[in-house]
Structures are given as structure tokens and as C-alpha cells.
């Protein structure tokens, strides 16, 4: 499955890009499995995703927990805890 990933704040800085399209392997079903899969893609991903529990994930603009299935999204976003307001 081809999926668009978008990154924000220090996740974006560490990975070194703001978005990309990746091929999600068939075995990767949940959000948590996607994070693990990405972490193995290189040291910039390793640096960004070192503490997966600090990573917030949104699928098609909605927050999801790490145990949720990915489904067939248009866009998956990875970012740090939010600090707006």
C-alpha cells in the first residue's frame, strides 16, 4: 500500500523532510507497527522516533492511538505533543 506521510515540528526536523510517500508492507497493520517500520529506515528516522510513546499520530486529520489499525488512509501525520494556544 502506498501512503502519504507528513511530519511536523521536531519530527520533521529530525527526519529532514516534511512529507513523503512510502510503501507500507503488508505485515504493518497498526500505527505502532508503522512507527517501528519507519524507525528501521535509517538513522534520521531512528532519531525522530527514538521514543515512540512521545509521537502523536493522526490519520486523515484525526488523532489515533498507537494500537489503532492504519486502514487505507489518504494521509498519516506524525508529530510531537502539541503546544498551541
Amino acid at each position: 500500500m502506498k501512503t502519504k506521510l507528513v511530519y511536523f515540528a521536531w519530527v520533521r526536523e529530525r527526519i529532514g523532510r516534511s512529507d513523503e510517500e512510502i510503501e507500507v508492507p503488508d505485515g504493518v497493520v497498526t500505527v505502532g507497527e508503522l512507527l517501528n517500520h519507519l524507525k528501521a529506515r535509517g538513522e534520521e528516522y531512528e532519531a525522530a522516533l527514538q521514543y515512540p510513546e512521545a509521537i502523536r499520530v493522526a490519520i486523515d486529520h484525526e488523532h489515533v492511538g498507537h494500537g489503532e489499525p492504519l486502514g487505507t488512509p489518504r494521509e498519516i501525520a506524525l508529530f510531537p505533543p502539541m503546544t498551541g494556544g
Binding site: 507528513v6 511536523f8 515540528a9 521536531w10 493522526a58 486529520h61 484525526e62 488523532h63 501525520a77 508529530f79 510531537p80 505533543p81 502539541m82 503546544t83 498551541g84 494556544g85
Partner: protein, 158 residues
């Protein structure tokens, strides 16, 4: 709920009087309007600016979800939330919430609720730029902000 929240994410500043007027103009059923302005602080004297990054699309969607939840909990005649992005200098506005109601406590509670959730669940991030020219760090999420959320859990509507 007839209430339609006004949600904006913008680079420009906002005008409080203007936003209040938008919600009270030509109506006589609004008895109370509460506004909250969040400003860029510089406690240490070393900050040049905050850089506000956001997730376009989701930021608006999430702000709208929070506003609609506020509209279900309290009898609000209107709710406005405006969040700025880009470089914001100390003393400048970052965020505005305006809640209008017949009664004052609903307006206070609606605005307060909106701010607590904006802080913790709307996709905005702040990076410090220092006067020294050095790139500062990303502002970290605060435990006190998560604690502030808890008081709204399971609390009955107005």
C-alpha cells in the same frame, strides 16, 4: 445546536472588538461575551520570537471539533477561535477565543474549555528563536496542561 463556530488559522493579527461585534451584532439575546487572548511571553528577556507551526487542514478540523463539543456542553450563542501561525514576537497575540451566551457562566466555561483543549489537542507547535541568533528549542508540552483537561472529564453540562 444552531451555533456555528467561527474557526480561523491565520498569519495576521486579530482585533478583539471586531470579533466580539461579529457575535453580538444585530441580536439582543446575548448577555455575556468572554474573550481569551493568549500572548507571546518572554520571561527571561532572551526571546526574539516564537515560530508557530501548524498542520493545515487538521488544525481547523480539530478546533472545530473542540468548539462543537463546547457547544454541546454549554448553551452558547456563538464561539470563535482564531489561532495565528508564523513568527510571533513577545507581546504579540497568539490565540483568541470568544464565547457568547445568554448567561455569564456558560460564556466563561465555554471559553475556558476551548482554551484547555486547544492547548493540548490542536496541532500547533512552538519553536523559540533567541535574540542571540541561536536557534532555540521546541516548547515542550506541559503536565499542567494535561491536568487542566481532567477537570472537564465527566463534568455535567451547564
Amino acid at each position: 445546536m444552531a451555533m456555528r463556530p467561527e474557526i480561523r488559522v491565520q498569519r495576521e493579527d486579530f482585533d478583539v472588538t471586531e470579533e466580539v461585534r461579529r457575535m453580538t451584532n444585530a441580536r439582543t439575546d446575548v448577555g455575556a461575551v468572554v474573550t481569551f487572548c493568549g500572548l507571546c511571553r518572554d520571561d527571561g528577556g532572551s526571546l526574539s520570537a516564537l515560530e508557530l507551526e501548524h498542520y493545515p487542514g487538521m488544525a481547523e478540523a480539530q478546533m472545530r471539533r473542540i468548539a462543537e463539543e463546547a457547544g454541546e456542553r454549554w448553551l452558547l450563542s456563538g464561539l470563535t477561535a482564531v489561532h495565528r501561525f508564523g513568527l510571533i514576537r513577545p507581546g504579540e497575540n497568539i490565540v483568541l477565543v470568544v464565547a457568547a451566551s445568554m448567561h455569564r457562566q456558560a460564556a466563561f466555561d465555554g471559553a475556558n474549555f476551548m482554551m484547555d483543549y486547544l492547548k493540548t489537542s490542536a496541532p500547533f507547535w512552538k519553536k523559540e528563536h533567541l535574540l542571540s541568533g541561536a536557534s532555540g528549542s521546541w516548547v515542550e508540552a506541559k503536565d499542567t496542561d494535561d491536568a487542566a483537561l481532567r477537570r472537564w472529564r465527566g463534568s455535567a453540562a451547564d
